[in-house]
């Protein structure tokens, strides 16, 4: 089955489930889920960007990178789970709005890249104490990754808002 046809079948099936009907007709559940979703985005985005800015040498330079990474990166993963949960419920509530929407697919693609960069940075910071501050090659590579991470996380927020303005296919 082609991707578009599969998504069309999937969103019709999801929309017919009792859970979808309940969320859709309640009136207050969708904005509540969106509020929780945005609060979690705020947490993940701020944590990731603070570590990225420190890698670029802009934020809190007196504090070792490892301390900052240990303070801000671990919280991303449990919060990301809440994001997946609230996001999935929003998809179940209005599957047509997201699954058949190119901006939503783009957002998911960007999310995979952002998660990969963040996990990669966290692993390399934990593995090599202080090397990103001392070794030139590693520092420049990490700065590239950090700048990319900032842009992609911002892109995710943009795409998230644009889902509402993109015609579902």
């Amino acid at each position: 089955m082609k991707f578009a046809a599969y998504m069309s079948w999937l969103s019709k099936w999801l929309a017919s489930t009792a859970l979808s009907q309940t969320i859709q007709t309640s009136g207050w559940l969708i904005p509540t889920l969106q509020t929780i979703h945005i609060l979690c985005v705020a947490t993940v985005l701020s944590s990731a960007i603070i570590v990225d800015l420190r890698i670029c040498g802009i934020f809190d330079r007196n504090e070792p990178l490892q301390y900052i990474a240990r303070r801000f990166l671990p919280v991303i993963w449990p919060v990301l789970l809440i994001l997946l949960l609230t996001g999935s419920l929003l998809v179940v509530a209005e599957p047509h709005r997201s699954l058949q929407n190119s901006t939503f697919i783009l957002k998911m693609g960007l999310l995979v890249v952002a998660v990969a960069i963040t996990a990669g940075l966290q692993a390399s910071i934990n593995r090599s104490s202080g090397v990103l501050d001392k070794n030139n090659f590693h520092r420049i590579a990490a700065r590239f990754a950090a700048c990319g991470s900032i842009l992609i996380w911002c892109g995710i927020v943009f795409a998230g808002r644009w889902i509402a303005y993109t015609e579902a296919g």
């Binding site: 969708i30 904005p31 509540t32 969106q34 509020t35 945005i38 609060l39 985005v41 705020a42 947490t43 993940v44 985005l45 701020s46 944590s47 960007i49 603070i50 934020f59 809190d60 504090e63 303070r71 911002c154 927020v157 943009f158 998230g160 808002r161 644009w162 509402a164 303005y165």
Partner: protein, 168 residues
């Protein structure tokens, strides 16, 4: 004072800038995206400060150093949020002013400002006494807890504006 303020709002709403934002298909969602992005940074960064004040996070760092490193980020993001928010506001000022959630959101931001001002006037004065303490004094913990609740409410009101304004 109120009539002249309403006149100013009406004047801004009729301006070419407001009309452009209202009519253009790309401008409003773009400004809205910048607004969401900056609000996320305001809320995320203020949460770091508030959790330190409550005594739940960053406790191994001095409160003063958490304040001085994080707050510049918060204020920069807040400036962008105010600018983007004002642009959205003037594009449909009359409608926003008659929206209860919009009015609530503005009041809540005002209360958050007062909460912060009280904290800076009262609690920061004896900051040196508890700067490295794992258990900040009650007044600091209250300021942090209030701030968390207020900003969560600001985000909730913001989202509800979208559902009650007849735009996305």
């Amino acid at each position: 004072m109120i009539p002249s303020l309403l006149q100013l709002v009406a004047y801004l709403e009729k301006s070419a800038l407001a009309e452009n934002i209202r009519e253009n298909d790309v401008l409003f969602p773009t400004i809205e995206s910048v607004h969401v992005l900056s609000i996320c940074l305001v809320v995320g960064s203020i949460l770091i400060v508030d959790l330190r004040l409550v005594g739940l996070a960053s406790v191994r760092r001095a409160a003063s150093s958490v304040l001085s490193t994080i707050l510049p980020l918060t204020w920069s993001a807040f400036a962008i949020a105010i600018t983007s928010g004002s642009l959205m506001f003037i594009s449909n000022a009359t409608k926003y002013l008659s929206n209860d959630f919009f009015v609530c959101k503005m009041i809540l931001i005002g209360v958050a400002g007062v909460n912060m001002a009280i904290f800076h006037l009262v609690s920061v004065r004896n900051l040196h006494l508890w700067d490295h303490s794992l258990n900040p004094p009650l007044q600091a913990r209250l300021a942090g807890a209030f701030s968390i609740l207020l900003w969560i409410s600001v985000v909730a009101c913001g989202r509800w504006i979208g559902f009650t304004m007849g735009v996305n």
